[in-house]
Symmetry: C2
Subunit: 467 residues, 2 copies
């Protein structure tokens, strides 16, 4: 995976101040200022905000306990009432600990939860607004609530009884499951994957508070080096001297249509006057539904795409976004975009039906395919982010490759759906040449092949493990 190495370094090379203003058709004038940055001792505390878009609320809120205090914090955790976390809970601890959800300081209290449900945004003390569309909450049941009693702090443990974090100044409030589901997904139909997995059987209470995470969350699945935090990504972009960062969220294998889109976006940014736009290719690494391709296989596939030269490693950073997936369409795409601001992205590519899926009980898509980008473009707290709508790519039979769809000669184009792609790969058939680089396709075929012994079951997702 040499080509995917992100060449992380603790010592960004110093460089001089640049000020540029570029007027684009994509929104307000873009001001990018890059000033000399200095290396500091503890790299996780280093703030590389100069030159990159500011994190929500002005600074990254990292919730990791400093190295020398970890022993003490572990001791404290052992003395507190305990809550056992599910693997999705731990993914949220991961998300919170690194500041993807800045300015959140922990699992949501009720005021944050209500603002998220009703306004998809939080009002900050200075009167400004940060986007926050997906509830990041921790559910507990009656027995756990009872065992907490009057304690103002609790300890969060994993299923193997390892202390993960302490939650301070807690607030316990009712978990209005039906309302949460209805307002987040716009439906309460049974069969929503995240709901089935994480809400239906969860406790009737939510517990919010300030999170103190004892150690960085690791999964020990060979992919941890791709799980860069927002601070690490900001360092990387600064090191690469990026004057624009465009993020591409994905949870599927990359085909040449995606690649075309990403290279074309870079071309457009160069045309706008940016000198060094960097692509953040950012596959989602948390919970996904059973019929999505698992992270490990997707990462193998992405590796091949870079090796085959479809994307330029010099201008691409591949990293894993630790969030679990909601499949909540227009509500969730805001979260996907907002989290990338915190990682330094000022451009966000949005496609057709982002974070969408089929309706769980009706024969239609759950969301209107255009609502995602419309909602994203109007979302409070995302005004600073430039939204780049997806241009539809399809297989151009006349050229034998993926190209932007031209409605004036629609008959020349072939749309290859995800279902079609899966069927081909399962049957070890090849897609039309030029649809996906051969190395990447081979990975997909291998993945579906690997399912056969387990009678088409799914490989387990990696879980966070303590070293």
């Amino acid at each position: 995976m040499a080509s995917m190495a992100t060449r992380f370094t603790n010592t960004p090379s110093p460089f001089h101040s640049i000020q540029r203003t570029s007027y684009t058709h994509l929104g307000a004038p873009v001001k990018v200022s890059i000033s000399t940055s200095k290396s500091k001792k503890t790299h996780l505390r280093l703030r590389v905000s100069a030159g990159l878009i500011e994190p929500d609320g002005g600074k990254l809120v990292e919730l990791l306990v400093e190295e020398p205090l970890r022993g003490l914090k572990k001791k404290e955790a052992l003395s507190l009432p305990r809550i056992e976390l599910s693997s999705i809970d731990i993914q949220w601890v991961h998300v919170l600990s690194e500041g993807w959800a800045s300015p959140l300081t922990g699992f949501m209290r009720e005021s944050e939860f209500l603002q998220t449900l009703h306004f998809n945004s939080l009002r900050l003390p200075d009167g400004s607004v940060a986007n926050m569309s997906v509830p990041i909450v921790l559910a507990i049941d009656d027995a756990q609530k009872h065992s907490i009693g009057d304690s103002t702090s609790v300890a969060l443990f994993d299923s193997k009884n390892n202390p993960i974090a302490v939650l301070k100044n807690i607030e316990i409030y009712k978990h209005p499951k039906e309302e949460r589901i209805a307002r987040t997904w716009g439906t309460t139909a049974p069969g929503l994957p995240y709901v089935d997995q994480a809400i239906t059987n969860a406790g009737n209470w939510l517990i919010g508070g300030d999170l103190e995470v004892i150690e960085p969350i690791k999964y020990h699945d060979g992919l941890d080096r791709f799980r860069q935090s927002p601070a690490e990504l900001r360092e990387e972009f600064t090191r690469r001297n990026a004057d624009a960062v465009f993020a591409f969220q994905l949870r599927n294998p990359v085909h040449n249509g995606h690649a075309l889109l990403m290279t074309d976006t870079r071309r457009r940014l160069l045309e706008m006057g940016y000198k060094n736009p960097i692509l953040l290719l950012h596959p989602l690494g948390g919970y996904t539904k059973a019929d999505d391709v698992p992270l490990s296989w997707r990462m193998k596939q992405h590796e091949k795409v870079l090796e085959d030269g479809v994307l330029d490693p010099e201008t691409t950073v591949v990293s894993i976004f630790p969030s679990p997936m909601h499949y909540a369409g227009p509500t969730e795409v805001q979260w996907h975009a907002k989290a990338r601001i915190n990682a330094g992205a000022n451009f966000y590519i949005v496609g057709r039906d982002p974070a969408g899926m089929g309706h769980p009980t009706e024969k239609r898509d759950l969301y209107d395919a255009d609502h995602g980008k419309k909602v994203l473009s109007m979302a409070p707290g995302l005004e600073r982010l430039n939204i780049l709508p997806f241009r539809v790519a399809a297989y151009d039979k006349t050229q034998g490759k993926m190209a932007f769809f031209d409605p004036s000669r629609a008959q020349d184009f072939l749309f290859i759906s995800g279902t079609k792609m899966r069927t081909l790969a399962k049957n070890k058939e090849n897609p039309p040449e030029g649809f996906m680089c051969p190395g990447g396709w081979k990975v997909l075929v291998e993945y579906y092949d690997s399912l056969v012994p387990a009678s088409s079951g799914r490989l387990p997702e990696p879980e966070a493990v303590l070293a």
Copy 2:
């Protein structure tokens, strides 16, 4: 109803400029500036914003066609594709025509609809935000959509074939009913009154555009003189020299607990330094569910309350709010508050479980009783409004009257629920003395008595009628 007369006049008496800043515990410093206002020729175009809180978006958006052009507009309507309005649709036309929903210029287009569903607010061209929590939309079916064809305008007719309005620069888009219901009510359970009445059987398309209303909407039920527009209310408040306006939304009979609350609010405002706080007692006049007391009876009851001296007519304006009721709790209370800003209110009294009801299929309230005031206090676009949370009043057995509940002597208090009140009135029994003024109680008993011949059915609601 002499005591309820609002003494409307076209010529506000001029008075001099007053500037005051008062620091309260209720929110940001309140700045009230009252400057000389001048009378103008057409009273509906008069802007009496001086001294009162500004309407959302800076000015009241009234959508009534000027008198001399009405004939022409009617002619135009007769030449256009037609949409027949339901009585709830006409109530929304009424609401829009008078600027309660300022800055909306008509039924919502998709961008407004999506912002309402996701953010409960609209971003205005100047970057500011106006609250808008309830979709104000017009549904049409496939046949109507087909009949509109390529026309850019349509005419809106009532069920008796009278032209009501023209909708210009129309936009037709999908009506995502399930999503609309889930995001507005936080549930999709069957049995939500407004949903059953106005959404379930509505068309699969929504049509938005700029509304031009041919004539003021009238109901000819003897209550039209109480249906003052926001502009008329603003004139009235200015005429009365109000330096604070506090609004009380209600859809129930007024008992002495309400009265206590309203007089106590006035006392608190005087303590804060206001010289002349005026109460806007503002019963909702549009669609309500079958077991609510109908508007005509409520107005009779309110009249008695003023006649009996429970509220002071000198400092009270009784008027009818033309909106239909959603029973959408925390989502709807924002609409109730926002509309009152447009009518000049800068204080809003919010109670327990505003706009709430029982869950239609489960044995519990649909909303947490505290969510309404919490959501209201955090709602985007309502920062200028001072939210006055309800203090709970109950019947104090030791004093023989309604008093603010004192938890330290809970045993002295009797809570008389709406259900209890209804049961007493139906059985012609009296509530404890001091619960409601006798004249008001008599009206209630008469109302329930009137239901008996119709086998407990409900009197029909007044419908808008053309003169």
